[in-house]
Amino acid sequence: MVAIGDGVISQLRRGVLEFCVLALLRDDERYGFEIVRALSQADGLVTSEGTLYPLLGRLRKEGVVETTWRESPTGPPRRYYRLTPAGRSLLTAFTAEWVRFRGSVDTLLETGALT
């Protein structure tokens, strides 16, 4: 038996993760912990929750999300993330691309040919 290289899966994961974050923010703003817990509940998407925070910081630096502080009913203020217009159009573009990509790979994996 040949095992799938761990590198392949982690590269795939790394490639799509930022778009998963953007997708989570499509309809509503969310605070960091909320985003991290939502993603880590998805099967096979996140190996360690902590590494998502650097990703959130990078998305903010790239201008695809923006943040605001809001009071929390239970503790210190929370930093909320929401999509910027640039983030929204990036998500739309990725969604279209992903559907094509997934379709081709699925077809190949299932039938062994592109019909």
């Binding site: 912990f33 360690s48 929750e49 902590g50 590494t51 925070y53 650097p54 503790g75």
Partner: protein
């Protein structure tokens, strides 16, 4: 949920380890990362939790080193990128003009194809000064020749006399620019490619 912001000792210890691991990050990034993880711990743990419960939260969070590594990718190209390719580009942009000018163009190709510099760096490298130090030599020759006699209308010699002071100043300024420009650019490019 409790409203207190004091952390479980095991979580506080973890946060300390993260802060130490994050020492290699730029100050702003380090502060923000520790702030975010601290907020995470406040949400996910409570001081009254058992050690085992807190350790479970920390396991999910991951190793502090791993988290700091995830912050690094944007730093990595800056530290690794000053390789042979970049030093060759800088050297050839500076001195390549003396190798029949071809050397400078080779330097230009290396500059433009490197990922260590952004567009602004590349523009500066290209235009200050085309030809590199060889341009200073050309500038000297040109300004020297304009100071002497120039041939006008087929054989009539026109010699510059009174205007030569101005010419001299312009010539010296041009020479200084062609000499200092490439040197400053080389230093700039070497620093920016980090």
């Amino acid at each position: 949920m409790t409203t207190t912001t004091s952390l479980h000792p095991v979580a506080a210890d973890y946060l300390g380890r993260l802060d130490r691991a994050a020492r290699r990050l730029p100050r702003g990034e380090r502060r923000e990362l520790v702030e975010e993880i601290s907020a995470h711990l406040i949400e996910a743990t409570e001081p009254a939790m058992s050690d085992a419960e807190v350790l479970t939260v920390l396991d999910r969070l991951g190793d502090p080193e791993e988290i700091v590594d995830a912050q690094r990718p944007q730093e990595r190209p800056r530290t690794d990128s000053r390789g042979l390719h970049e030093w060759a580009a800088i050297f050839l942009l500076l001195f390549g003009g003396f190798i029949f000018l071809v050397g400078w163009f080779a330097g230009l190709v290396l500059l433009l194809s490197s990922r260590a510099w952004d567009t602004r760096d590349k523009l500066i490298g290209t235009f200050i000064v085309p030809g590199g130090l060889a341009a200073a030599l050309v500038a000297t020759v040109v300004s020297a020749s304009t100071e002497t006699c120039s041939s006008l209308n087929g054989g009539v010699q026109h010699c510059t006399g009174g205007a030569s002071t101005l010419r001299n100043i312009v010539g010296i300024a041009l020479f200084a620019f062609c000499l200092l420009g490439p040197i400053c650019t080389a230093v700039y490019l070497a620093r920016r490619a980090r």
